[in-house]
């Protein structure tokens, strides 16, 4: 898999990646007076999604490094347990950040044609914080998982 990644990375010139990283590094930075998303803001977003319904623990495998050396590119791996059949599948998986300027990270919308509710994305984290995942099943049930990521060099370069 590393070989494949290297191959993919070569396609993007070093210059464009550095330009992207330089921008990205500063991009996550909040100006001193800009508020950072708080756990309460995430709870509000989650409530919008679930309508206040009960959320159970389990089903979600959420992998993030416990310590991220570089806040600009933090890999997030997930896998939600489900048979992924027409009647029983994962409808959405939504990720939230409790410590970035914006509380929303990404939302996956799966059809039952997808064999797995799983994947990897790479995210920017401004500081040490919790990442929250909410999985919504076709039968209307919700599940959640949460991971703390310690960020040594934040998406703000220090």
């Amino acid at each position: 898999m590393t070989k494949v990644l290297r191959g993919l990375k070569k396609a993007i010139t070093r210059r464009s990646v550095l330009a992207g990283l330089a921008t990205a590094g500063v991009a996550v930075c909040a100006a001193p007076l800009v508020a950072v998303a708080a756990p309460e803001q995430v709870a509000e977003e989650v409530k919008k999604l679930t309508g206040g319904k009960a959320i159970a623990e389990g089903k979600i495998k959420l992998d993030l490094p416990s310590i991220a050396e570089n806040g600009l590119v933090v890999p997030l791996n997930f896998d939600v347990e489900s048979p992924m059949t027409e009647k029983d599948y994962v409808k959405t998986v939504t990720f939230y950040s409790e410590g970035n300027p914006n509380p929303l990270v990404a939302a996956f919308h799966f059809s039952p044609l997808m064999p797995k509710a799983a994947g990897q994305i790479r995210i920017r984290l401004a500081q040490t914080q919790n990442i929250v995942a909410i999985a919504e099943m076709a039968d209307g049930k919700f599940y959640t998982a949460k991971r703390e990521v310690k960020v040594t060099i934040g998406g703000c370069g220090g």
Binding site: K9, A24, V26, C29, A107, H109, S111, L113
Partner: protein
Amino acid sequence: MAAPTPRVRMPATAKAGEVVEVKTLISHEMESGNRKDKDGKVIPRKIINKFTAKFNGKELMTVDWHAAISANPYQSFFVRVPETGTFTFEWLDDDGAVYKAEQKVTVG
């Protein structure tokens, strides 16, 4: 700056019904909208906000991306190959531009 270039890595052949991993990458700055320029003005957000995967024109999955997605976004996931056909992937920019990549997979 070069135009955003999408790349897809997935097998070109598979058995009927096989589950394969798809790795995607697109070069894009993903300007978050949280930055300010040297005059103190906020640099407007410009990110790719949606990813779509289809097989023979039928939608499999969509993903909403927000400002926390890293620059030069990488995303991997799994698809099932039911028969010979073409997977198409689309990335939608805030400015309305759509970037596309496709991969034909042969079942044999």
